[in-house]
Amino acid sequence: MAVLELEDVSVTYRSAEGAVPAVRGVSLSVDAGRSLGLAGESGSGKTSVTSTVLRLLPKSATVTGRVLLEGEDVLTMKWGRLRAVRWATASVVFQGAMHALNPVQRVGHQIAEPIRLHEKSVSEPTARKRVGELLEQVGLPSRVAQSYPHQLSGGQKQRVMIAMALACGPKLIVADEPTTALDVMVQQQVLGVLADRVQDLGLAMVFISHDLSVLASACDDLAVMYAGQVVEQGPSDQVFDDAHHPYSRALGGAYPRIGDLRFRYAPSGLPGDPPFPGEAPSGCAFHPRCPQAREVCATTDVELRPSGERRWSSCLFAPEVGT
């Protein structure tokens, strides 16, 4: 059964220049025990998509479509119900644990906060014991609970974030670039901890990153976003090794080897920049940068179509599969 189901979700931001569509008709679903990787450059709308899950978008954003968390639409929930669902059903491992932790509270207190909030019956000593266990589960000694965030390294803080996300036994974890700010060795460690915990507990996970190789190694399925739309979706090894969309291919080529920083910030062979949200070109949004673009790409509207077994692509030249 799907823990999370997005149906035709769009996010539009109001700004001084008018409405800016950041996400345009995205549908995704994640089953219990499965993990979905969401890839794309910055500005592709991936964080906006996942922020709809707990309704954490700023007030200037309007969301349409349906966001079903265990079958219940998050977008129509009352505030009280939403607050009860937050962290208890779905929790978030935020990007850059650096600022996501309160700098002047001990981390143990911060991990215990959602436990106290959602499980009122839990006594203080029990909560403290659970914090210790959670820390040990992510490979930290329980005395880290007494530390302040600035006393911990980036990797340690990220582990604290993971422990915090697990605190209330959620069904779904949203990991928003949890390893981006870390150096490569630590990145692997943190990734391992996260993957292990998710697997052991049988959780569903949505993992966001701009690094396709990280996603391919950590997730069962992949969805690649460009200009607010999903352009390719399928099992992660297949999408990584044999992409059906030129953009996925370029993104995969941009990160050829894990652990080699030279490739991380110098994407190979993708000229130009992604369009600003709201200024997506006609036809296939990717055509101005696409090495395989032809004239029809600028004029024909594209949408996600099946392109193989359990695979979808929006490229006009992706393999055709009879429906």
């Binding site: 962290w87 932790l101 302040y148």
Partner: protein, 355 residues
């Protein structure tokens, strides 16, 4: 220091090696904890400032052209032997004089020109009324000011914010003694046929025993207008500072974390945003204590409140140089010490400062 072994349970074939060692809590060095060395450093800086104040206070009056004795004794009859003593004092080498001065900056050989009394005596008896007045105003102003700042900053751009920012900016632009005079005319003297309600000056009605309950009430009654004036002026600053530091905190990621945890808006504000925004506010409040002193001087003058502020005004009108020097020294010491307390207090409440 022990290396922490991987204690991760569950996974079995956990690929994760042990986490990097925790940073040690004390950085060894001279065997001082970071807290203690922080306190020492701050105390040293405060002592440096005090020394600077002493230097300014001493040399300012001696290195200037003109006859210093004339300046100190202007407008009064000084016995010949005292004058001779003074001249002998001022004829000694300047460094020697400075050392004597350092030994006890308050026991000047020169009495107050106006009161013909040792300046130290005059100054000490005026401290308490000032502390009572300014202390009350600061407490009230910080409570009200911080409350306004939170309310305005949390709902930025809403009508409360617009009105309160307008009002506080106006109050902030106001000479505090002018506000005092206006309040005095309206509520003390009475205008346009309305009678005045409050006393127009002083700390108590003459003849009332200030140690009795009635005396306390009388003093409190006299405090209403000057305290209101100072509170209004101070709270403007506190509200503006609190608002802007809360606004600075609003974009921080840890607030999103708090919301994601399911905390209600009220708790996100109370448990996370406000405590963090209070930290810079407290420092700024203490840093700007000098501005508080300005208020005390002019407002005490307007309300004839017998504190250090009124004494400054009286000394200035002389001008009673010896007294002015003592007052300047006392105010500076007060502000420097308050700053030191603020620094130390800050280290206690913000863990980041200690390391």
């Amino acid at each position: 220091m022990s290396l922490i072994q991987d204690v991760a349970g569950g996974g079995g074939h956990d690929p994760v090696p042990g986490p990097p060692p925790l940073p040690r809590k004390d950085k060894g060095g001279k065997g001082l904890s970071p807290g203690a060395s922080f306190a020492l450093r701050k105390t040293g800086a405060a002592l440096g400032t005090l020394f600077f104040v002493l230097v300014v206070n001493f040399f300012l009056f001696r290195l200037l052209p003109g006859d210093p004795i004339g300046m100190y004794t202007r407008g009064r009859n000084v016995p010949a032997e005292q004058l001779a003593q003074l001249r002998a004092e001022l004829d000694r080498p300047i460094l020697e004089q400075f050392l004597t001065y350092l030994r006890n900056p308050f026991s000047s050989t020169i009495d107050s020109a106006q009161f013909n009394r040792p300046v130290w005596e005059l100054v000490t008896e005026r401290i308490w009324p000032t502390l009572l007045l300014v202390g009350t105003a600061i407490v009230l102003a910080s409570i009200i000011g911080v409350w306004i700042g939170i309310k305005a900053g949390w709902k930025r751009g809403k009508s409360f914010d617009k009105v309160s920012t307008g009002v506080t900016l106006t109050l902030y632009s106001m000479p505090e003694f002018w506000l005092g005079m206006i309040l005095l005319i309206v509520f003390g003297v009475g205008v346009l046929g309305l009678p005045g309600v409050f006393p127009i000056g002083g700390i108590s009605t003459p003849g009332v025993d200030t140690s009795s309950l009635a005396g306390w009430l009388d003093v409190a009654w006299h405090m209403v207008l000057p305290v209101t004036t100072l509170t209004l002026v101070y709270l403007a600053e506190y509200a503006l500072v609190m608002r802007s530091s809360l606004v600075d905190e609003m974009d921080e990621d840890y607030l999103t974390t708090a919301r994601a945890k399911g905390l209600s808006d009220k708790f996100v504000r109370r448990r996370h945003a406000v405590p963090n925004a209070l930290l810079p506010t407290i420092t700024l409040i203490f840093l700007n204590l000098g501005f508080t002193v300005s208020g005390a001087i002019t407002v005490e003058t307007v309300f004839s409140w017998p504190g250090l502020g009124l004494l400054s005004y009286e000394a200035l009108r002389g001008p009673d140089v010896a007294l002015l020097q003592a007052i300047f020294l006392l105010f500076s010491i007060g502000v420097v010490l308050a700053n030191l307390v603020a620094d130390l207090l800050y280290a206690v409440i913000d863990p980041r400062v200690r390391s």
